[in-house]
Structures are given as C-alpha cells and as structure tokens.
Symmetry: C2
Subunit: 209 residues, 2 copies
C-alpha cells in the first residue's frame, strides 16, 4: 500500500473527508503542522544566500535545518497516529467471551488508550519546537516573505490544539490516574506555550511587514 | 504541468518549503482550510446513515454537501492565489525605460496588488463558511468523532488568519484608498467572525467529548 505522504494531495484530502477511520484528526493536525514548518523553511530558503541577510545566515541555516527535521518528524508522527488508531480498533475487535479474554482485552484497551494519548502529546511537542523556530525566524528571516512565518505560526498553533483534542477523547478511558494527571498537565502546558509562541511570532511578523 | 493537488502530499510539502515562489502562504493557508473542511466532512460521513442520528440526517447531509463544496472552492482558490502571485511577478518584470512604459507598469502593479488582496479575502470568506458549517456540525455530528470537528475549526481559523496576512502585505502598495479601507474593514470583520465561530464550535465539541 502507498504511504499516505506518497498519495496525491487530492487523494489525502478525499481520504481525510471520507468515513474511513484514518487519517483522523491527529494525523490531519500533524499534516497541518508539517505545512506550518514548510512555511518557516521556505522563509529560511529565501534568506540563506542573500547578501542583505549575510550576518544572520548561520543562525537562519540552523533554523532551516530544524524546520526540515521537524517536517520529517511530523510525517513519522502521522504514521504513528494512524498505527495507534488502527491498534485501538483491533483491540475493540478482541474476543470477550471468557473472563480471561475480558481481562486481556481490558488490559490491551488501557495500553491502546495510553498510546493514542502519547502520540498527540508528541505531535504537540513537535509543533512547539516548530513554533519556537517560527518565533526566531520571524525576527531573522527575509522581510520579503516574512508573512509566511506568520502563516507557519498560525498553522503550528492550530495543529497543536487540534492534535491535543485527541488527549481529551482518550483520557476518560484511562484508569491510571497518575498518567491521566500527567497527560492533562502536559496538554495544558503545551497549549499555553503554543499560544504565547504564536502570539510573539505573529507580533514580530506584523512589525516587519 | 501537473496541478498542485495532483502532486503527492510529500511533493506539495517540499514545494511549499522550497524557495520556489509558489505555493506561498495564501495557498498553503487555503490547503489547511481544505483539510479543515475535510475533517467536518468526515464527521458528516460518520453521521449519515446511523440510526442514532436519523433525526438530524437531513441537516447533516446538507452540512456535508457544503463541506465538500467548500473543499472544491478552496482548491480553486489555491490556484487563484498561485495565478495572482505569478501575475504580480510578471508585472515586476515589465519594462520601465520610457515614461509610457513606467505608466503602464504602475497601472498593472496596482491591478496586480488588488488581485493579490482579493484572493486572500475570498479565502477568508470561504473559511468563514467552513467555520459556520463546523459550528453546526459540532452540535449535530456523531459524538464518536466529534473532536475532529474541533480540528476542523482550529484549522479553519488558522487558514483564515494566515491567508489574511497577505492582505497586510499588499495594502501598502495600493493607492486606491477607498479600496484599502474596504479591504482592511473586511479583514478585521473576517478575523473577528472566525474567532467567534471557532470558539463556539470548540466549546460545543468539548461539551460533547
């Protein structure tokens, strides 16, 4: 089977819109995050090699490398999200006739719910890195395209908030209260950080437009 | 040449990240808006035909049709954004040796700047329609996937705000002050409306998770 990123954009959109279980909200959020990182990378590519931005070139090159790395990471996280979701679906199909089967299924369900919570948290962490890069690029990147860093920041924040809705869905299933508390705290921390980073990045972008 | 939506997702991301002039921020914002509409459509597709949601099926079918329509509209707007940008670049290459050439170029530049402002405003109007549909779907769609309406709302808002940064870039070039005032008022109105709609949609989603 073709991997999702090898499908045409049109096909990926059609699959997203269909009743097919994947790609779901976590994956689509990660794709949006990858587009956000791509915008920051574009501004990097339009800055490197320009005489006017020679002084900041080493730093911009580093930010560009981080954006490219992040795009790869988000692509992997899309696959991780799809895998976690498919695994969840498999668990639902497990037999529950005997007490032993019921116990095995309940245990597998807990593991699947935790995995399906971990992946969006990792998408959140990845997009935070993207927003940190966007904030720095906003100040250093080529003014000619600086608005596109703002696009990257808006998409990063939306990707993070969208992905983290999957945390909200999964935690009611999870019995390990210590894990739930940690996940909720992480979710809230990531959201607050994303809002602050996007706000700063867009502010700098608007000053430089 | 292959159309952008026929390229693989990987290729579209690579083109977005490259120094190539298109797709730029307006186009990528519209793509994100299309993914947002796809999420709302997915929830529609997971609602239609389900016994539990039989009472709301006619309304959900209508919302689903609107989401599908919006995805097409945003695809067209991506192309319009690319065309407007390429046209802008062509104008910059126009000769400016004689007074007549200078006058022709200046006039073409004004038209190009207005076109490059109109397209993001149309992307904004399209994503507002998407957010209106998301808000309604949040209340009616299948609870099992309702968080994905939230993903759609976050992406719609980000798409709108990202696209409208292109208004900020172009208005300093435009001499027609009546147009500028109208464009700025429209931009501010769309942003306020998007925030209100996303906020309401996500609120309903969170209540139903």
């Amino acid at each position: 089977m073709k991997k999702l990123f090898e499908e045409s954009l049109q096909e990926v959109l059609a699959q997203s819109a269909s009743a097919a279980p994947t790609p779901g909200g976590g994956s689509v959020s990660a794709i949006a995050g990858a587009f956000g990182a791509a915008m920051v990378a574009m501004v990097g590519n339009l800055t490197v090699g320009k005489e006017k931005y020679k002084d900041v070139e080493p730093e911009v090159k580093e930010l560009l490398a981080q954006s490219n790395q992040l795009m790869k990471e988000l692509e992997e996280l899309v696959q991780a999200d799809i895998d976690a979701f498919n695994n969840y679906m498999d668990v639902f199909k497990m037999a529950k006739n005997t007490e032993e089967e019921k116990a095995l299924r309940a245990e597998a369900l807990q593991k699947a719910a935790i995995a399906a919570t971990d992946v969006p948290l990792r998408i959140g962490e990845a997009t935070i890195k993207g927003l940190q890069v966007a904030q720095k690029m906003a100040a250093l990147g080529n003014k000619v395209a600086i608005s596109d860093v703002g696009v990257g920041a808006y998409l990063g924040e939306a990707a993070l908030k969208g992905a983290l809705l999957s945390v909200d869905i999964n935690i009611p299933v999870i019995k390990d209260q210590a894990y739930v508390e940690k996940a909720v705290a992480k979710r809230d921390e990531l959201i607050a950080e994303a809002e602050a980073l996007r706000s700063k990045a867009v502010e700098v972008v608007k000053e430089r437009i």
